[in-house]
Protein backbone atom coordinates (compact mmCIF):
# COMPACT_ATOMS: atom_id res chain seq x y z
CA UNK A 1 0.00 0.00 0.00
CA UNK A 2 1.32 3.44 -0.91
CA UNK A 3 1.62 6.36 1.48
CA UNK A 4 0.06 9.81 1.53
CA UNK A 5 2.23 12.92 1.48
CA UNK A 6 1.84 13.34 5.25
CA UNK A 7 2.69 9.70 5.92
CA UNK A 8 5.87 9.98 3.82
CA UNK A 9 7.09 13.05 5.68
CA UNK A 10 6.36 11.44 9.05
CA UNK A 11 8.08 8.19 8.05
CA UNK A 12 11.20 10.05 6.95
CA UNK A 13 11.36 11.94 10.25
CA UNK A 14 10.92 8.74 12.25
CA UNK A 15 13.74 7.05 10.31
CA UNK A 16 11.34 4.51 8.80
CA UNK A 17 10.80 3.39 5.20
CA UNK A 18 7.13 2.83 5.73
CA UNK A 19 4.42 3.75 8.23
CA UNK A 20 0.87 2.49 8.63
CA UNK A 21 -2.26 4.35 9.67
CA UNK A 22 -2.58 4.31 13.47
CA UNK A 23 1.10 3.53 14.07
CA UNK A 24 2.64 5.47 16.96
CA UNK A 25 5.98 6.98 16.00
CA UNK A 26 8.61 9.24 17.52
CA UNK A 27 9.55 11.92 14.96
CA UNK A 28 12.46 14.37 14.76
CA UNK A 29 11.32 17.99 14.69
CA UNK A 30 12.60 20.70 12.38
CA UNK A 31 10.96 23.52 14.33
CA UNK A 32 9.11 24.06 17.61
CA UNK A 33 6.87 27.13 17.93
CA UNK A 34 5.21 28.90 20.82
CA UNK A 35 3.47 32.23 21.45
CA UNK A 36 2.95 34.60 24.38
CA UNK A 37 0.02 32.57 25.76
CA UNK A 38 1.34 29.03 25.39
CA UNK A 39 5.11 29.50 25.89
CA UNK A 40 4.97 30.60 29.54
CA UNK A 41 3.13 27.35 30.38
CA UNK A 42 5.73 25.37 28.38
CA UNK A 43 8.60 27.17 30.08
CA UNK A 44 7.10 26.24 33.45
CA UNK A 45 6.75 22.61 32.36
CA UNK A 46 10.37 22.57 31.16
CA UNK A 47 11.52 23.50 34.65
CA UNK A 48 10.09 20.16 35.83
CA UNK A 49 12.01 18.22 33.20
CA UNK A 50 15.46 16.80 33.81
CA UNK A 51 16.95 18.79 30.98
CA UNK A 52 19.97 21.01 30.66
CA UNK A 53 18.49 23.25 28.01
CA UNK A 54 16.91 23.32 24.59
CA UNK A 55 17.68 20.77 21.87
CA UNK A 56 18.68 23.41 19.32
CA UNK A 57 18.43 27.15 19.84
CA UNK A 58 18.13 27.70 16.07
CA UNK A 59 15.04 25.50 15.77
CA UNK A 60 12.75 27.17 18.25
CA UNK A 61 10.54 30.13 17.37
CA UNK A 62 8.91 32.21 20.10
CA UNK A 63 6.49 34.82 18.80
CA UNK A 64 4.82 37.44 20.99
CA UNK A 65 1.60 38.06 19.09
CA UNK A 66 -1.63 37.44 20.98
CA UNK A 67 -1.69 40.27 23.54
CA UNK A 68 1.09 42.57 22.30
CA UNK A 69 1.88 45.40 22.61
CA UNK A 70 0.81 44.15 26.02
CA UNK A 71 -2.77 44.86 26.95
CA UNK A 72 -2.36 44.53 30.72
CA UNK A 73 0.06 43.68 33.50
CA UNK A 74 -0.54 39.94 33.42
CA UNK A 75 0.15 39.69 29.69
CA UNK A 76 3.25 41.85 30.15
CA UNK A 77 4.48 39.37 32.77
CA UNK A 78 3.97 36.54 30.28
CA UNK A 79 6.05 38.26 27.62
CA UNK A 80 8.70 39.07 30.21
CA UNK A 81 8.91 35.40 31.15
CA UNK A 82 9.37 34.36 27.51
CA UNK A 83 11.85 37.19 26.82
CA UNK A 84 14.02 36.06 29.75
CA UNK A 85 13.86 32.44 28.63
CA UNK A 86 14.81 33.42 25.06
CA UNK A 87 17.73 35.42 26.39
CA UNK A 88 18.92 32.70 28.76
CA UNK A 89 18.83 29.99 26.08
CA UNK A 90 20.00 32.31 23.28
CA UNK A 91 16.97 31.46 21.14
CA UNK A 92 17.67 32.83 17.65
CA UNK A 93 14.09 33.25 16.58
CA UNK A 94 12.48 35.27 19.34
CA UNK A 95 10.15 37.90 17.91
CA UNK A 96 9.11 40.74 20.18
CA UNK A 97 7.27 44.02 19.54
CA UNK A 98 8.93 45.69 16.57
CA UNK A 99 9.86 42.47 14.79
CA UNK A 100 6.89 40.30 15.55
CA UNK A 101 3.96 39.43 13.36
CA UNK A 102 1.17 36.92 13.81
CA UNK A 103 3.12 33.69 14.11
CA UNK A 104 1.63 31.78 11.15
CA UNK A 105 2.16 34.68 8.77
CA UNK A 106 5.60 35.41 10.21
CA UNK A 107 7.28 32.00 10.12
CA UNK A 108 6.90 31.41 6.36
CA UNK A 109 7.86 35.03 5.66
CA UNK A 110 11.04 34.61 7.73
CA UNK A 111 11.83 31.39 5.86
CA UNK A 112 11.69 29.25 9.01
CA UNK A 113 9.65 26.48 7.38
CA UNK A 114 10.39 24.71 4.09
CA UNK A 115 8.76 21.82 2.23
CA UNK A 116 9.33 18.43 3.86
CA UNK A 117 9.68 19.80 7.42
CA UNK A 118 7.97 18.48 10.52
CA UNK A 119 6.85 21.37 12.72
CA UNK A 120 4.93 21.43 16.00
CA UNK A 121 3.55 24.61 17.49
CA UNK A 122 1.69 25.33 20.69
CA UNK A 123 -1.03 27.00 18.66
CA UNK A 124 -3.76 25.17 16.82
CA UNK A 125 -3.26 27.07 13.55
CA UNK A 126 0.28 25.72 13.20
CA UNK A 127 -1.27 23.61 10.43
CA UNK A 128 -0.85 26.71 8.19
CA UNK A 129 2.60 25.57 6.93
CA UNK A 130 1.03 22.67 5.07
CA UNK A 131 0.71 25.26 2.29
CA UNK A 132 4.49 24.90 1.86
CA UNK A 133 4.37 21.11 1.64
CA UNK A 134 5.44 20.64 5.26
CA UNK A 135 3.81 18.54 7.98
CA UNK A 136 2.85 20.95 10.73
CA UNK A 137 0.40 20.57 13.56
CA UNK A 138 -0.83 22.23 16.71
CA UNK A 139 -0.02 20.79 20.12
CA UNK A 140 -0.28 21.93 23.71
CA UNK A 141 2.32 23.50 25.95
CA UNK A 142 3.56 20.21 27.44
CA UNK A 143 4.29 18.86 23.96
CA UNK A 144 6.00 22.14 23.17
CA UNK A 145 8.15 21.81 26.29
CA UNK A 146 9.06 18.23 25.42
CA UNK A 147 9.81 19.33 21.84
CA UNK A 148 12.07 22.16 23.00
CA UNK A 149 13.92 19.80 25.33
CA UNK A 150 14.24 16.72 23.12
CA UNK A 151 13.65 17.83 19.50
CA UNK A 152 11.12 15.04 19.20
CA UNK A 153 7.39 14.47 19.40
CA UNK A 154 5.17 11.40 19.33
CA UNK A 155 2.53 11.10 16.62
CA UNK A 156 -0.17 8.67 15.65
CA UNK A 157 0.11 8.28 11.87
CA UNK A 158 -3.11 9.75 10.43
CA UNK A 159 -5.21 8.58 7.54
CA UNK A 160 -6.13 11.23 5.00
CA UNK A 161 -9.08 12.77 3.21
CA UNK A 162 -8.26 13.84 -0.34
CA UNK A 163 -9.67 17.07 -1.72
CA UNK A 164 -9.28 17.31 -5.47
CA UNK A 165 -9.51 20.94 -6.49
CA UNK A 166 -10.54 21.39 -10.13
CA UNK A 167 -11.49 24.36 -12.27
CA UNK A 168 -10.62 28.02 -12.00
CA UNK A 169 -12.13 30.21 -9.27
CA UNK A 170 -14.25 33.13 -10.45
CA UNK A 171 -13.68 36.78 -9.49
CA UNK A 172 -13.67 37.49 -5.73
CA UNK A 173 -13.38 33.78 -4.91
CA UNK A 174 -10.44 33.43 -2.54
CA UNK A 175 -8.82 30.72 -0.47
CA UNK A 176 -11.20 31.70 2.35
CA UNK A 177 -14.30 30.91 0.29
CA UNK A 178 -12.78 27.56 -0.68
CA UNK A 179 -11.98 26.46 2.86
CA UNK A 180 -15.28 27.74 4.30
CA UNK A 181 -17.08 25.78 1.58
CA UNK A 182 -15.10 22.65 2.49
CA UNK A 183 -15.77 23.01 6.22
CA UNK A 184 -19.46 23.52 5.46
CA UNK A 185 -19.29 20.28 3.51
CA UNK A 186 -17.50 18.06 6.04
CA UNK A 187 -18.37 19.76 9.37
CA UNK A 188 -16.15 20.86 12.24
CA UNK A 189 -15.17 17.30 13.10
CA UNK A 190 -15.27 15.98 9.52
CA UNK A 191 -11.51 15.40 9.40
CA UNK A 192 -10.90 14.63 13.08
CA UNK A 193 -7.59 12.78 13.61
CA UNK A 194 -7.03 12.95 9.81
CA UNK A 195 -4.93 14.84 7.27
CA UNK A 196 -6.60 17.01 4.67
CA UNK A 197 -4.55 16.49 1.50
CA UNK A 198 -5.25 18.87 -1.36
CA UNK A 199 -4.39 18.16 -4.97
CA UNK A 200 -5.75 18.65 -8.48
CA UNK A 201 -5.17 21.05 -11.36
CA UNK A 202 -7.16 23.81 -9.65
CA UNK A 203 -4.25 24.43 -7.27
CA UNK A 204 -2.32 26.23 -9.99
CA UNK A 205 -4.83 29.10 -9.72
CA UNK A 206 -4.26 29.52 -6.00
CA UNK A 207 -1.67 32.01 -4.79
CA UNK A 208 0.55 31.07 -1.84
CA UNK A 209 -1.60 33.40 0.28
CA UNK A 210 -4.72 31.44 -0.75
CA UNK A 211 -3.00 28.19 0.17
CA UNK A 212 -1.91 29.53 3.57
CA UNK A 213 -5.53 30.53 4.27
CA UNK A 214 -6.81 27.07 3.30
CA UNK A 215 -4.19 25.10 5.26
CA UNK A 216 -4.68 27.47 8.22
CA UNK A 217 -8.30 26.42 8.64
CA UNK A 218 -7.73 22.65 8.33
CA UNK A 219 -8.06 22.61 12.14
CA UNK A 220 -11.57 24.03 11.77
CA UNK A 221 -12.45 20.72 10.10
CA UNK A 222 -10.88 18.96 13.08
CA UNK A 223 -7.86 17.89 11.01
CA UNK A 224 -4.41 17.08 12.34
CA UNK A 225 -2.89 18.87 9.36
CA UNK A 226 -3.69 20.16 5.89
CA UNK A 227 -1.12 19.82 3.13
CA UNK A 228 -0.55 20.99 -0.45
CA UNK A 229 1.68 19.46 -3.10
CA UNK A 230 4.82 21.42 -3.89
CA UNK A 231 4.76 23.18 -7.29
CA UNK A 232 6.84 25.90 -8.98
CA UNK A 233 5.01 28.59 -7.03
CA UNK A 234 5.87 26.91 -3.70
CA UNK A 235 9.50 26.50 -4.70
CA UNK A 236 9.75 30.12 -5.82
CA UNK A 237 8.26 31.27 -2.49
CA UNK A 238 10.67 29.14 -0.47
CA UNK A 239 13.63 30.30 -2.53
CA UNK A 240 12.70 33.92 -1.94
CA UNK A 241 12.29 33.54 1.82
CA UNK A 242 14.42 30.66 3.13
CA UNK A 243 18.05 29.57 3.13
CA UNK A 244 17.35 25.91 3.73
CA UNK A 245 16.69 23.47 0.90
CA UNK A 246 13.14 22.16 0.55
CA UNK A 247 12.54 18.41 0.40
CA UNK A 248 9.70 17.54 -1.92
CA UNK A 249 7.45 14.60 -1.05
CA UNK A 250 4.62 13.39 -3.24
CA UNK A 251 1.75 11.10 -2.33
CA UNK A 252 2.07 7.63 -3.90
CA UNK A 253 -0.31 6.95 -6.79
CA UNK A 254 -1.74 4.03 -4.79
CA UNK A 255 -2.02 5.92 -1.50
CA UNK A 256 -5.14 5.03 0.44
CA UNK A 257 -7.64 7.76 1.41
CA UNK A 258 -10.45 7.50 3.94
CA UNK A 259 -12.60 9.67 1.65
CA UNK A 260 -12.26 11.72 -1.52
CA UNK A 261 -14.02 14.92 -2.53
CA UNK A 262 -13.86 16.85 -5.77
CA UNK A 263 -14.30 20.59 -5.36
CA UNK A 264 -15.11 22.54 -8.53
CA UNK A 265 -13.59 25.93 -7.80
CA UNK A 266 -15.40 27.54 -10.74
CA UNK A 267 -18.77 26.83 -9.10
CA UNK A 268 -18.01 28.46 -5.74
CA UNK A 269 -19.68 31.66 -4.53
CA UNK A 270 -18.52 34.02 -1.77
CA UNK A 271 -19.19 32.07 1.43
CA UNK A 272 -19.91 33.19 4.99
CA UNK A 273 -19.89 31.10 8.22
CA UNK A 274 -22.73 31.99 10.54
CA UNK A 275 -22.52 31.89 14.34
CA UNK A 276 -21.47 29.89 16.25
CA UNK A 277 -19.58 27.26 14.26
CA UNK A 278 -17.40 27.52 11.14
CA UNK A 279 -19.47 24.74 9.55
CA UNK A 280 -22.62 26.93 9.44
CA UNK A 281 -21.89 28.20 5.96
CA UNK A 282 -24.12 30.03 3.53
CA UNK A 283 -23.32 31.45 0.14
CA UNK A 284 -23.76 35.18 -0.24
CA UNK A 285 -26.96 34.83 -2.29
CA UNK A 286 -28.60 32.88 0.55
CA UNK A 287 -28.08 35.67 3.07
CA UNK A 288 -30.91 37.99 4.05
CA UNK A 289 -30.49 41.50 5.36
CA UNK A 290 -28.16 41.32 8.37
CA UNK A 291 -26.97 44.62 9.86
CA UNK A 292 -23.51 44.64 11.43
CA UNK A 293 -21.60 46.72 14.00
CA UNK A 294 -17.98 45.86 13.28
CA UNK A 295 -15.65 44.50 10.62
CA UNK A 296 -12.25 42.94 11.31
CA UNK A 297 -9.79 42.30 8.50
CA UNK A 298 -6.64 40.55 9.68
CA UNK A 299 -5.42 37.41 11.54
CA UNK A 300 -3.24 34.45 10.60
CA UNK A 301 -6.00 33.45 8.18
CA UNK A 302 -6.40 36.67 6.19
CA UNK A 303 -3.96 39.36 7.25
CA UNK A 304 -1.54 38.94 4.34
CA UNK A 305 -0.74 41.45 1.61
CA UNK A 306 -3.15 40.02 -0.97
CA UNK A 307 -5.92 40.15 1.66
CA UNK A 308 -5.24 43.82 2.32
CA UNK A 309 -5.10 44.42 -1.43
CA UNK A 310 -8.52 42.82 -1.91
CA UNK A 311 -9.93 45.02 0.86
CA UNK A 312 -8.23 48.16 -0.46
CA UNK A 313 -9.58 47.65 -3.96
CA UNK A 314 -13.09 47.64 -2.54
CA UNK A 315 -12.60 50.47 -0.05
CA UNK A 316 -10.79 52.78 -2.50
CA UNK A 317 -12.85 55.93 -2.98
CA UNK A 318 -15.58 54.61 -0.67
CA UNK A 319 -16.45 55.17 2.98
CA UNK A 320 -17.31 52.58 5.59
CA UNK A 321 -20.94 52.80 6.73
CA UNK A 322 -21.84 54.97 9.69
CA UNK A 323 -21.42 53.17 12.99
CA UNK A 324 -19.53 50.21 11.50
CA UNK A 325 -16.19 50.10 13.30
CA UNK A 326 -13.74 48.77 10.73
CA UNK A 327 -10.47 47.42 12.12
CA UNK A 328 -7.69 46.39 9.76
CA UNK A 329 -4.62 44.57 11.07
CA UNK A 330 -1.68 43.68 8.81
CA UNK A 331 -0.32 40.34 10.02
CA UNK A 332 3.39 41.22 10.08
CA UNK A 333 5.64 44.27 10.10
CA UNK A 334 6.72 43.48 6.53
CA UNK A 335 3.11 43.27 5.36
CA UNK A 336 2.40 46.55 7.19
CA UNK A 337 5.29 48.20 5.35
CA UNK A 338 4.35 46.74 1.98
CA UNK A 339 0.73 47.81 2.47
CA UNK A 340 1.91 51.29 3.32
CA UNK A 341 4.08 51.50 0.22
CA UNK A 342 1.24 50.20 -1.95
CA UNK A 343 -1.00 52.95 -0.56
CA UNK A 344 -3.50 50.55 1.03
CA UNK A 345 -3.17 52.05 4.51
CA UNK A 346 -4.04 55.50 3.16
CA UNK A 347 -7.06 54.01 1.42
CA UNK A 348 -8.20 52.37 4.66
CA UNK A 349 -7.80 55.48 6.76
CA UNK A 350 -9.53 57.67 4.17
CA UNK A 351 -12.40 55.17 4.12
CA UNK A 352 -12.84 55.57 7.86
CA UNK A 353 -11.17 52.35 9.02
CA UNK A 354 -8.50 52.06 11.71
CA UNK A 355 -5.20 50.33 11.00
CA UNK A 356 -3.33 48.61 13.82
CA UNK A 357 0.13 47.27 14.46
CA UNK A 358 0.27 43.46 13.98
CA UNK A 359 -1.52 41.57 16.75
CA UNK A 360 -3.99 38.72 17.17
CA UNK A 361 -6.07 41.14 19.25
CA UNK A 362 -9.77 40.83 18.41
CA UNK A 363 -9.47 37.43 16.69
CA UNK A 364 -9.53 35.64 20.05
CA UNK A 365 -11.43 38.33 21.92
CA UNK A 366 -8.21 39.58 23.49
CA UNK A 367 -8.48 43.33 22.96
CA UNK A 368 -8.58 45.91 20.12
CA UNK A 369 -12.18 45.34 19.05
CA UNK A 370 -14.20 43.43 21.65
CA UNK A 371 -17.92 43.09 20.96
CA UNK A 372 -20.65 44.21 23.35
CA UNK A 373 -23.81 42.18 24.02
CA UNK A 374 -25.75 41.42 20.86
CA UNK A 375 -23.27 43.05 18.48
CA UNK A 376 -22.41 41.50 15.14
CA UNK A 377 -19.05 41.42 13.40
CA UNK A 378 -18.00 40.27 9.95
CA UNK A 379 -14.47 39.00 10.40
CA UNK A 380 -11.79 37.46 8.21
CA UNK A 381 -10.61 35.38 11.18
CA UNK A 382 -11.17 31.65 11.58
CA UNK A 383 -13.45 30.97 14.55
CA UNK A 384 -16.93 32.15 15.46
CA UNK A 385 -17.53 30.20 18.67
CA UNK A 386 -19.77 31.58 21.44
CA UNK A 387 -17.99 34.53 23.06
CA UNK A 388 -14.97 34.28 20.76
CA UNK A 389 -14.80 38.06 20.15
CA UNK A 390 -16.51 39.34 23.26
CA UNK A 391 -19.86 39.01 24.99
CA UNK A 392 -21.48 35.56 24.83
CA UNK A 393 -24.46 37.05 22.97
CA UNK A 394 -22.29 38.73 20.31
CA UNK A 395 -22.00 37.16 16.87
CA UNK A 396 -19.08 36.60 14.51
CA UNK A 397 -19.58 35.93 10.79
CA UNK A 398 -16.50 34.53 9.06
CA UNK A 399 -15.81 35.72 5.53
CA UNK A 400 -13.16 36.65 2.96
CA UNK A 401 -11.51 40.10 2.95
CA UNK A 402 -13.59 41.08 -0.10
CA UNK A 403 -16.87 40.24 1.65
CA UNK A 404 -15.69 41.89 4.87
CA UNK A 405 -14.74 45.10 3.05
CA UNK A 406 -17.99 45.17 1.07
CA UNK A 407 -19.93 44.62 4.29
CA UNK A 408 -18.07 47.50 5.94
CA UNK A 409 -19.28 49.79 3.14
CA UNK A 410 -22.93 48.73 3.18
CA UNK A 411 -23.24 48.08 6.92
CA UNK A 412 -24.87 44.73 6.15
CA UNK A 413 -23.40 41.36 5.19
CA UNK A 414 -22.68 41.91 1.49
CA UNK A 415 -20.68 40.52 -1.38
CA UNK A 416 -18.47 42.70 -3.57
CA UNK A 417 -21.07 42.40 -6.34
CA UNK A 418 -23.59 44.29 -4.17
CA UNK A 419 -21.49 47.43 -4.50
CA UNK A 420 -21.71 47.81 -8.27
Amino acid sequence: MGMTMTQKILAAHAGLDHVEVGQLIMAQLDLVLGNDITSPVAIDVMKDMDTKGVFDRERIALVMDHFVPNKDIKSAEHCKCVREFACQHEISHFYDVGQMGIEHALLPEKGLVVAGDVVIGADSHTCTYGALGAFSTGVGSTDMAAGMATGQAWFKVPEAIRFKLVGKPGPYISGKDIILHIIGLIGVDGARYQSMEFDGEGIQYLSMDDRFTIANMAIEGGAKNGIFPVDDQTLAYIKEHADRKPLVYEADADADYAAEYTIDLSSLKPTVSFPHLPENTRTIDQIEDIAIDQVVIGSCTNGRLSDLKAAAEILKGRKVADRVRTIIIPATQQIYLDAMQAGYLKTFIEAGAVVSTPTCGPCLGGYMGILAAGERCVSTTNRNFVGRMGDVTSEVYLASPAVAAASAVTGRISGPADLI
Binding site: L24, D72, A122, D143, D189, R383
Partner: protein, 163 residues
Protein backbone atom coordinates in the same frame (compact mmCIF):
# COMPACT_ATOMS: atom_id res chain seq x y z
CA UNK B 1 -6.71 0.51 40.56
CA UNK B 2 -7.42 4.11 39.67
CA UNK B 3 -10.99 5.27 39.41
CA UNK B 4 -13.18 8.35 39.26
CA UNK B 5 -16.48 8.70 41.07
CA UNK B 6 -18.79 11.71 41.07
CA UNK B 7 -21.87 13.48 39.80
CA UNK B 8 -22.19 14.39 36.16
CA UNK B 9 -22.25 17.71 34.34
CA UNK B 10 -23.63 17.06 30.85
CA UNK B 11 -22.97 19.01 27.64
CA UNK B 12 -23.63 18.49 23.92
CA UNK B 13 -21.56 18.44 20.71
CA UNK B 14 -18.52 20.60 19.90
CA UNK B 15 -17.78 22.04 23.35
CA UNK B 16 -14.91 24.29 22.27
CA UNK B 17 -11.88 25.53 24.17
CA UNK B 18 -13.22 29.11 24.05
CA UNK B 19 -16.17 28.17 26.25
CA UNK B 20 -14.07 25.86 28.45
CA UNK B 21 -11.75 28.77 29.24
CA UNK B 22 -12.41 32.06 27.42
CA UNK B 23 -9.37 33.82 25.94
CA UNK B 24 -10.02 36.90 28.08
CA UNK B 25 -8.63 34.88 31.00
CA UNK B 26 -5.55 33.58 29.18
CA UNK B 27 -3.46 36.43 30.50
CA UNK B 28 -2.97 34.08 33.45
CA UNK B 29 -1.57 30.56 33.44
CA UNK B 30 -2.19 29.88 37.14
CA UNK B 31 -4.40 26.74 37.37
CA UNK B 32 -6.40 28.21 40.27
CA UNK B 33 -7.15 31.40 38.25
CA UNK B 34 -8.19 29.32 35.25
CA UNK B 35 -10.38 27.02 37.36
CA UNK B 36 -12.36 30.05 38.58
CA UNK B 37 -13.59 30.66 35.01
CA UNK B 38 -13.90 27.08 33.81
CA UNK B 39 -16.94 26.51 31.50
CA UNK B 40 -18.06 30.09 32.17
CA UNK B 41 -19.39 30.84 28.68
CA UNK B 42 -21.39 27.61 28.39
CA UNK B 43 -22.48 27.12 32.01
CA UNK B 44 -22.28 30.09 34.39
CA UNK B 45 -23.08 27.91 37.41
CA UNK B 46 -20.47 25.24 36.77
CA UNK B 47 -17.79 26.66 39.05
CA UNK B 48 -20.14 27.19 41.99
CA UNK B 49 -21.71 23.74 41.64
CA UNK B 50 -18.76 21.49 40.83
CA UNK B 51 -17.37 19.30 43.62
CA UNK B 52 -14.01 17.55 43.65
CA UNK B 53 -14.32 14.26 41.82
CA UNK B 54 -17.21 15.27 39.56
CA UNK B 55 -17.34 14.08 35.97
CA UNK B 56 -18.03 15.91 32.71
CA UNK B 57 -19.92 13.99 30.04
CA UNK B 58 -20.30 15.43 26.54
CA UNK B 59 -21.14 14.26 23.04
CA UNK B 60 -19.06 14.72 19.86
CA UNK B 61 -15.76 16.57 19.40
CA UNK B 62 -15.20 17.78 22.97
CA UNK B 63 -12.42 20.37 23.23
CA UNK B 64 -12.38 21.53 19.62
CA UNK B 65 -10.70 24.80 18.73
CA UNK B 66 -7.49 26.16 20.11
CA UNK B 67 -4.46 24.30 21.42
CA UNK B 68 -4.60 26.04 24.80
CA UNK B 69 -3.52 23.53 27.43
CA UNK B 70 -5.26 25.96 29.78
CA UNK B 71 -8.51 24.12 28.85
CA UNK B 72 -7.70 20.69 30.35
CA UNK B 73 -5.73 22.44 33.12
CA UNK B 74 -8.81 24.50 34.05
CA UNK B 75 -11.00 21.40 34.10
CA UNK B 76 -8.54 19.43 36.20
CA UNK B 77 -7.96 22.33 38.60
CA UNK B 78 -11.73 22.77 39.00
CA UNK B 79 -11.72 19.30 40.55
CA UNK B 80 -13.10 17.26 37.66
CA UNK B 81 -11.85 13.68 37.86
CA UNK B 82 -12.69 12.50 34.35
CA UNK B 83 -14.20 13.66 31.05
CA UNK B 84 -16.27 11.17 29.09
CA UNK B 85 -17.28 12.00 25.50
CA UNK B 86 -18.32 10.27 22.32
CA UNK B 87 -15.22 11.78 20.69
CA UNK B 88 -12.56 14.34 21.57
CA UNK B 89 -10.88 16.91 19.34
CA UNK B 90 -7.33 15.79 18.67
CA UNK B 91 -5.29 18.50 20.41
CA UNK B 92 -7.45 18.38 23.53
CA UNK B 93 -7.10 14.58 23.64
CA UNK B 94 -3.32 14.88 23.46
CA UNK B 95 -3.13 17.69 26.01
CA UNK B 96 -5.35 15.84 28.49
CA UNK B 97 -3.07 12.80 28.35
CA UNK B 98 0.03 14.97 28.60
CA UNK B 99 -1.15 16.75 31.76
CA UNK B 100 -2.75 13.67 33.32
CA UNK B 101 -6.46 14.55 33.03
CA UNK B 102 -8.24 11.20 32.57
CA UNK B 103 -10.51 11.08 29.50
CA UNK B 104 -12.57 8.23 28.10
CA UNK B 105 -14.23 7.88 24.72
CA UNK B 106 -17.55 6.02 24.89
CA UNK B 107 -20.46 6.64 22.53
CA UNK B 108 -23.00 4.71 24.56
CA UNK B 109 -22.14 6.45 27.82
CA UNK B 110 -22.20 9.87 26.14
CA UNK B 111 -25.68 9.21 24.79
CA UNK B 112 -27.16 7.62 27.92
CA UNK B 113 -25.74 9.47 30.92
CA UNK B 114 -27.65 12.55 32.05
CA UNK B 115 -26.82 15.58 34.13
CA UNK B 116 -26.75 14.76 37.84
CA UNK B 117 -26.20 11.01 37.40
CA UNK B 118 -23.73 9.40 39.78
CA UNK B 119 -21.05 7.74 37.69
CA UNK B 120 -17.92 5.73 38.36
CA UNK B 121 -15.08 5.12 35.88
CA UNK B 122 -12.46 2.39 36.20
CA UNK B 123 -9.43 3.55 34.22
CA UNK B 124 -7.74 0.16 34.10
CA UNK B 125 -10.64 -1.57 32.40
CA UNK B 126 -12.34 1.45 30.79
CA UNK B 127 -15.60 0.31 32.42
CA UNK B 128 -18.10 3.08 33.22
CA UNK B 129 -20.80 2.42 35.84
CA UNK B 130 -23.90 4.59 36.09
CA UNK B 131 -25.10 4.09 39.67
CA UNK B 132 -28.20 6.25 39.15
CA UNK B 133 -29.43 4.21 36.19
CA UNK B 134 -27.85 0.90 37.27
CA UNK B 135 -26.10 0.48 33.93
CA UNK B 136 -22.57 -0.11 32.69
CA UNK B 137 -20.85 0.98 29.47
CA UNK B 138 -17.51 -0.18 28.07
CA UNK B 139 -15.21 2.77 27.28
CA UNK B 140 -12.26 2.57 24.92
CA UNK B 141 -8.94 1.53 26.46
CA UNK B 142 -5.78 3.49 25.60
CA UNK B 143 -3.12 2.03 23.33
CA UNK B 144 -0.14 0.78 25.43
CA UNK B 145 2.09 3.72 24.44
CA UNK B 146 -0.39 6.29 25.77
CA UNK B 147 -1.09 4.13 28.80
CA UNK B 148 2.59 4.46 29.70
CA UNK B 149 2.33 8.27 29.62
CA UNK B 150 -0.82 8.11 31.74
CA UNK B 151 0.78 5.68 34.19
CA UNK B 152 3.67 8.12 34.56
CA UNK B 153 1.03 10.79 35.32
CA UNK B 154 1.90 12.87 32.31
CA UNK B 155 4.50 13.44 29.63
CA UNK B 156 6.98 15.25 31.88
CA UNK B 157 7.46 12.29 34.21
CA UNK B 158 7.43 9.92 31.27
CA UNK B 159 10.28 11.80 29.61
CA UNK B 160 12.19 12.14 32.89
CA UNK B 161 12.10 8.40 33.46
CA UNK B 162 12.83 7.47 29.85
CA UNK B 163 15.94 9.46 29.02
Amino acid sequence: MKAAHGKVFKYGDNVDTDVIIPARYLNSSDPADLARHCMEDIDRDFVSRVDTGDIIVAEKNFGCGSSREHAPIAIKAAGVSCVIAETFARIFYRNAINIGLPIVECKEAAADIEAGDEVEVDFDSGLITNHTRKKTYQGQAFPPFMQKIIDAEGLVNYINTNR
